[in-house]
Every structure is written in structure tokens, then in C-alpha cells.
């Protein structure tokens, strides 16, 4: 039985906010394969290319045939919990603050025995479980044994919440409410149980479609936020920065041009000013306050989401300057992730394919609907992943990019 997450009490402002601690982070390079898969929400283990034996812990050579080709392959995670323990003592500062902590030893049907964090919904050993990979607070892949069937309040499990960024009872800033994606995001995080939602509004004097309905939703308030204005960003950060638990930066300027199709750099500069410098301004003003609140009880600051584009991986020449601004933002987001990791705050990059909006009017379907994109972002928060490729186009281009980035470059060039 998992008790439902209680609504957080108002914080006593006199109490010291705890400094964030992380679980042990060092890993061998081989073990980072688990992290790489977990960042995408996948559970993968090494499988010997020569004999097929599944390996764990991660290693350099097959324990059966000594083969050294050990590609990472998706696992079902099905297995049997053969023993469990609840630890009441730890030498590690992160876990000391979180004891008692439940662990299980699971014999995977695929062969290996793994040590895993044990979800509260799992029965006592022996019991069937489903092992999955999650990123822990240190941003490293770890294994979690879940009950094989959904149980009530599954996401509220105390240990699991240390690895996820569930919006439930959290305060969320969505940087742009004027777009269909922004408004879908507001509805999605409210439906996910967010406590408060601030919605950025770059031109508060303008009446834009949908904003009034958003503003009328309980817990939602519009705030003036223009990412091209450093002072305005600083002011709003001074007002709400110390309360934001999840920041979703969905503001973007999207024009459709390459290099030859238009002279001058004004449009490209406008894209960069929001898509790249806007992120930089936000990060400079909001990230320090979020880092300081990374261990602030049950509803601590937990995640930063950047809406990028699958064009950030490889340029789509027909939207070349937009692709470049998203590539710049991706690079900056990696820096932000490096700076947020010591506090245990997850930086999530979202790489959709073309959205079903006016700027992609001429592109053929399938295109991602704003609602589907918003759902994918809430799911990413709930699963605590780092990289999301919502929609079929994004998933396919990501697969092509992983397999052969040069081939994708040619393919995208011929589509423009």
C-alpha cells in the first residue's frame, strides 16, 4: 500500500532550507550505458553480440564467452524478487537523510541478478516484479523494481519520488502562454495536480485567444515575461524565482528560412534572442534560486524543461536559422544540466518533430499536436527522463541520427 502524497504544508520561513545532497555518482564508462538508456526512459542491459548472454553489472567482456562486443539492448525487466531488505543505516549522506530505504535482489528472467531500489507496491519476496531504469538524483541510471501491475498511488512512492519530477503539488512556471503549446501545457500540468501555475505573457497589453480561459483556471496566474528583456526577466525571477519547482521554457520564435531565401540577419537575430539568449537570461536569473531549493522538502525544486526541436540535432535547411537557434539552445542546455546536476535538478530537453502549427503549414503529416506534446512533457516529468522525442517524426529522425548522422544530414537536405 502506497499512502497518497499529502498536500504540502505551508513552509515555515524561519527554518533553514536543507542543502541538496546526491546519491553516489561515480560510474565506470561501461555503466554509463545504463544512464544513457535511462535518460531516454529505457531499460537496457548489455547483451553479448557473440553468444547473446545478458550481462549485469555492466562490464567490458562477456562473462560466458569473453566476447567484447556488448551492445545495449532493451529489456523487458520481468523477474522475481528473491530477497529484500530495508536498510536503517548508511554511510552515505544522501541516504542517511532518507532512511529507512527498501532494496531488493531480483533475478531477471533474462538471467542476471540485480540489486534494485524496491518500490513500495512490491510484495514480499518471493514475488514477481518488473525492473525498470530511472535516473537518480545524481543523474545516473539506477534500477527500480516495480510491482508487475499498477497499484494505487504508484507515483507517490517516497523512494520513487526521489527519482522523478512529478508535477503533483508542485509550482510550475510556463514561460509562454500565448501559443497553443503553452496553453496545452497549462491544462496538462493542472490535470497532473500542480499546486500553482505561473504563465508567462510577453505582451500583457494584448488580448490573445485562449489566454482569458487559462487565466480563469484555479491555481493559474498570468505573469508578464518577455525573454528578450533582461531586466524584466530579473524582476519576475525576484518575485517568483524562489518558489518555482518546475520551469518549462516553451517560449520560441519560429520562422522558416534558410540562408539564401532572405537577406539580412534580423529574423535570425530575433530567433536567437528568444530561443538562445532567452534561455540564457532565464537560466541566469532562475537557476540559482532553484538550485538553492533543490532539497526543500516534499515539493522541492526539481526540473527544468527546454522545448527544443529535433532540428537541434541536425539542421533542417528549409528552417535553417531556426535549426541553428535550437542547436545553440541544446548546447546551452547541456551546460545548464551540468550546473543543475550538483543540486539534483533534472534538465529535460524536448525534441519534437514539426508541430501542427502555422509555421509548419507546408510540411506533410504526421505532425505533433500541442496536446500530445504537452502530454509527453508531463510524462517526461513523471518518469524523470532527460531527453524526449515526442511524435513519430522525432522518434524516426532520432533513430536515423543515432545510426548515421551524416545520412540524416543528406536526408534532411533533400527534404527541404
Amino acid at each position: 500500500m502506497i499512502p497518497p502524497l499529502p498536500r504540502p504544508k505551508r513552509k515555515n520561513p524561519v527554518l533553514r532550507t536543507r542543502a541538496p545532497l546526491l546519491p553516489p555518482g561515480p560510474r565506470s564508462r561501461a555503466a554509463l550505458g545504463l544512464t544513457a538508456a535511462a535518460a531516454l526512459g529505457r531499460f537496457e542491459l548489455q547483451e553479448c553480440a557473440a553468444c547473446g548472454a545478458v550481462q549485469y553489472p555492466p562490464r567490458e567482456a562477456c562473462h560466458r564467452c569473453l566476447g567484447v562486443e556488448l551492445p545495449w539492448r532493451r529489456q523487458s525487466g520481468e523477474g522475481e524478487l528473491i530477497a529484500e531488505t530495508t536498510i536503517h543505516h548508511s554511510h552515505d549522506t544522501f541516504f542517511r537523510e532518507r532512511l529507512p530505504w527498501r532494496l531488493g535482489m531480483v533475478r531477471l528472467d533474462a538471467g542476471p541478478t540485480v540489486v534494485a531500489h524496491l518500490h513500495g507496491g512490491c510484495g514480499t519476496a518471493p514475488a514477481r516484479v518488473l525492473v525498470g531504469a530511472r535516473l537518480d538524483k545524481a543523474g545516473q541510471g539506477v534500477l527500480v523494481a516495480f510491482p508487475p501491475e499498477e497499484v494505487p498511488n504508484m507515483a507517490d512512492d517516497r523512494q520513487l519520488r526521489e527519482m522523478t519530477c512529478d508535477p503533483k503539488y508542485r509550482k510550475v512556471l510556463i514561460t509562454d502562454g500565448k501559443t497553443a503549446v503553452g496553453q496545452a501545457l497549462v491544462r496538462a500540468v493542472c490535470a497532473a495536480g500542480a499546486e500553482l501555475v505561473w504563465v508567462g505573457h510577453a505582451e500583457p497589453w494584448k488580448k490573445l485567444p485562449g489566454l482569458e480561459q487559462i487565466d480563469a483556471m484555479p491555481g493559474v496566474s498570468l505573469v508578464p515575461l518577455d525573454l528578450t528583456d533582461s531586466r524584466a526577466v530579473r524582476e519576475i525571477a525576484g518575485e517568483i524565482g524562489g518558489k518555482v519547482d518546475i520551469l518549462i521554457n516553451n517560449a520560441e520564435v519560429h520562422r522558416t528560412q534558410g540562408i539564401a531565401s532572405r537577406s539580412g540577419i534580423e529574423v535570425a537575430r530575433a530567433e536567437m534572442d528568444v530561443n538562445y539568449f532567452g534561455l540564457l537570461r532565464l537560466a541566469q536569473e532562475f537557476a540559482p534560486a532553484m538550485r538553492a531549493r533543490a532539497a526543500d522538502g516534499q515539493s522541492s525544486a526539481t526540473a527544468w524543461v527546454n522545448l527544443l526541436s529535433v532540428f537541434a540535432l541536425s539542421s533542417f535547411p528549409g528552417q535553417g536559422t531556426y535549426s541553428a537557434s535550437k542547436a545553440a539552445a541544446l548546447s546551452l542546455s547541456q551546460t545548464l544540466r551540468a550546473e543543475m546536476r550538483p543540486a539534483g535538478i533534472r534538465v529535460i530537453d524536448v525534441f519534437p518533430g514539426p508541430l501542427d502549427d502555422e509555421w509548419n503549414q507546408t510540411l506533410p503529416p504526421p505532425k505533433v499536436s500541442p496536446e500530445a506534446l504537452a502530454r509527453a512533457i508531463v510524462a517526461a516529468l513523471r518518469d524523470g527522463v532527460e531527453d524526449v522525442y515526442p511524435g513519430e517524426v522525432a522518434a524516426e529522425w532520432f533513430a536515423r541520427w543515432r545510426e548515421n548522422p551524416k545520412a540524416l544530414e543528406r536526408e534532411l537536405a533533400s527534404q527541404s
Binding site: S28, P58, L103
Partner: protein, 393 residues
């Protein structure tokens, strides 16, 4: 069937030395190695220059290994071994040293297990223990082997009906034995209630299921019988030994060790049977391991140790003397020295050099080694059967 190992002929083991344990030390491991070596020389009446072989086991010498210690301690050897094998290091050191002396590669080998323990060194050493532990155990919070042994204790209890009271019986009896051993870290009796009600560490393990890490050293000398007699040193003979690493890798969780693979050969070479053994020193880092060793080494069948424990008293003056100086659970665990503790105590028992209470008329002793939890189980199993001079095949 593998060819039977040759016996150890006229090579013997002598000069059991313990450098008294302390909970924490600001000294490095080198300090404890030096004191152990000095103790061995004093005990044997040898000069430093007469030691021509050194076997060293330690986790806390880094960045040094045995070679650095030759210069540090100013000794010149023609045979050198470094065996950071934890709980198996004592038996493994013994069997290598016996062959070295037997083959003439060395004349007198000093075998030493030594480690220091700073206030924070246990926590700090965790990250460097093994790649598998760093990747697949420490991120789960247990820090050290407690969780691994909690898993296997709970699995053992489930599989074979062991009760907490059965583990308690071993711990309480060993504490009784430790009360007569001046170097034990624990000096007060342990009651059943104290054991059962101690604070939980990793369920089902509680405080007195876990050893206390400390600093200290153990050592002994290996030489020819002639040399020992010339020095006037009491000695014991080594009838048979075994070591086995990564046995039963296919078992999903550890319920047995490599001993069960090599048991018949071990007793066969010694020319004795389990019932001839007068005292047993298990590697008792957790009481469940004593039960597994009693089964795997033929004192009872697999799964019957709980019943066996209920039948015996385990004190030095009772039935089935076990861990006669208190074992690690009462004497403390000084890193790799823990792998020597049972051997050193066995040599004392068989040479009448007792610090603890003697087992009357003891002729044969069995000392067990076990160690290296690099991921989910102990990889090294080892054992040695020792005999009083003049006894045995």
C-alpha cells in the same frame, strides 16, 4: 578428478602474532605491518635479515603494495606476495608460503594481514573497493556489504527455517569465548535480549550481526620444521588447504561457497574426517556465513545448520568449539587481518600458546577464509586444516 595435491612435507607454521586491535587509528597500515613483523621476529628470535619471504595482505596500504613495504621496513627478500583478498587472504597466504618454502624459493616467510581504520576510512574506501560495487551497489545506499548479507540472510532464513535466535546463539557463544581473549574489542557478555533488540542495520540484520571495523594486524611464520626446532619454536603442521574463487556463479543468490566443491579433497588430503576436527574457526563476518560454512565443510547437510546450531554450545569448553577467541563478531574486523584471525588463533590453540581459553586436547583445527564481496556475493572461499605437531597423517 584433479590430481591430489602433494602434502606440505616438513614445512610448518609457527609464531602466531596479534597486534592488538583499536577501533580507530591515526596511523597508516604501514604502522601495523611493522608492528606485526617486529612481533614475529621477537617471537621467533630472528633478525630482520633472516626473513627472506614476505606475504602481505592489506586494503589500506595504497598507494603502496608489498614491494613498497620492503623498502619502508628495510628488508631484503627473495620472495614476495601481495594478497589483498580480504577474508581469504590468510589461508591463501599460508598455502603459497608453504609451497615457497617447500620448493626452496624461500626459507622463512612472514605472512601478515594488516589494516588501519581512520574515523572516515570505511566510508572513503567504499568507492574504491570494486568496479561492480561502485556501479551496481553503492548507488543503492547500503554502503558496504550489509545489504548483500541482509539479502542472503533473509533468503537463508526463508529457505531453511533459520530463526534470529539461531544466529543469536552463535553470537552469544562467541562473546562468551571472547571474554577470555584479551585482545577482543568487545569485553562484556552479550545477552540474547541485547542481540534480538539491537538497533536494525539492514533487515533482518541488527547491530550484533555486523562486525566492528577496526585497525590491527595478525601474522605467522612459515618455515621448515628443522628451522622451527632449531629456533625452539612451537609449531603446527598444515595437513591440507583449499581455495576456490567465483564458485557457483550461476546461483541467483549465495547459499553456498566454493568449500562444497573442494571439501572431499580437503579432508582426503588431510586424512581426517569432519568429526575429527576439534575446533573450527569460521569466517564469521555475519553469522549466516558461519552456518553456510558449517554446511559446506561437512559438519551438517545443506540447510541443516539451524538444527546443528540448536544442538551445540560452541564455547571453548562445550560441544563443538567455534571461533575460540570470539571470532570477528567479538574480536573485531581489522580489514585483511580478519582473514588471518582464525588461522592465528588455530596455531595458538595447537601450540599451547593460548591467549584465549584452550580447547582441551585439541589435535586438529579447521580455519576458514571467505571474502571479497565485489558485487552481490563473497567470491573467495578458502580453508586449511592444521594439526598439532606429531598428529595427523
Amino acid at each position: 578428478m584433479t590430481r591430489a595435491a602433494a602434502d606440505y612435507g616438513d614445512v610448518v607454521v609457527a609464531a602466531p602474532v596479534t597486534v592488538p586491535y583499536v577501533r580507530h587509528s591515526i596511523r597508516s597500515a604501514h604502522h601495523f605491518v611493522a608492528r606485526a613483523l617486529a612481533g614475529l621476529l621477537r617471537r621467533a628470535g630472528l633478525a630482520k635479515s633472516e626473513i627472506d619471504g614476505l606475504s602481505l595482505a592489506s586494503f589500506t596500504l595504497a598507494p603502496d603494495t608489498a614491494i613498497g613495504l620492503t623498502q619502508h621496513l628495510g628488508i631484503t627478500t627473495r620472495w614476495l606476495d601481495f594478497l589483498p583478498l580480504g577474508g581469504a587472504s590468510g589461508v591463501v597466504a599460508l598455502r603459497r608460503a608453504l609451497r615457497a618454502v617447500q620448493s626452496g624459493d624461500a626459507e622463512v616467510v612472514a605472512c601478515i594481514g594488516a589494516d588501519t581504520n581512520h574515523v572516515d576510512s570505511f566510508r572513503q574506501s567504499l568507492g574504491s573497493f570494486s568496479v561492480f560495487a561502485r556501479d551496481a551497489v553503492f548507488p543503492y545506499g547500503s554502503g558496504g556489504p550489509n545489504a548483500s548479507f541482509a539479502f542472503l540472510t533473509s533468503h537463508y532464513m526463508q529457505s531453511f527455517g533459520a530463526r534470529r535466535e539461531d544466529f543469536a546463539k552463535l553470537c552469544v557463544a562467541q562473546r562468551q569465548n571472547a571474554l577470555h581473549y584479551p585482545h577482543a574489542m568487545f569485553k562484556k557478555p552479550l545477552s540474547l535480549e541485547e542481540y534480538l533488540n539491537a538497533r536494525p542495520i539492514a533487515e533482518p540484520l541488527r547491530l550484533f550481526d555486523c562486525v566492528m571495523p577496526c585497525a590491527g594486524a595478525e601474522g605467522f611464520l612459515v618455515m621448515s620444521r628443522g628451522r622451527a626446532e632449531a629456533l625452539g619454536l612451537p609449531y603446527a603442521r598444515v595437513l591440507s588447504t583449499m581455495e576456490r574463487h567465483n564458485a557457483f556463479a550461476e546461483d541467483p543468490i549465495q547459499l553456498r561457497g566454493g568449500w562444497s566443491l573442494d571439501r572431499d579433497r580437503l579432508y582426503g588430503s588431510a586424512g581426517i574426517a569432519p568429526e575429527d576436527v576439534d575446533l573450527v574457526q569460521t569466517y564469521d563476518d555475519y553469522p549466516v556465513m558461519s552456518m553456510i560454512q558449517l554446511e559446506d565443510l561437512g559438519f551438517c547437510a545443506k540447510g541443516e545448520a539451524p538444527e546443528f546450531v540448536r544442538r551445540h554450545s560452541f564455547t571453548t569448553d562445550g560441544s563443538f568449539p567455534l571461533n575460540t577467541c570470539g571470532g570477528q563478531l567479538s574480536a573485531g574486523q581489522a580489514g585483511c587481518a580478519a582473514g588471518f584471525l582464525g588461522l592465528v588463533e588455530s596455531i595458538r590453540q595447537l601450540t599451547d600458546g593460548n591467549l584465549a581459553r584452550p580447547v582441551e586436547g585439541a589435535r586438529f583445527a579447521l580455519a576458514v577464509g571467505f571474502g571479497m564481496i565485489t558485487y552481490d556475493r563473497g567470491l573467495c572461499s578458502a580453508a586449511a586444516i592444521l594439526a598439532r605437531a606429531g598428529d595427523g597423517a
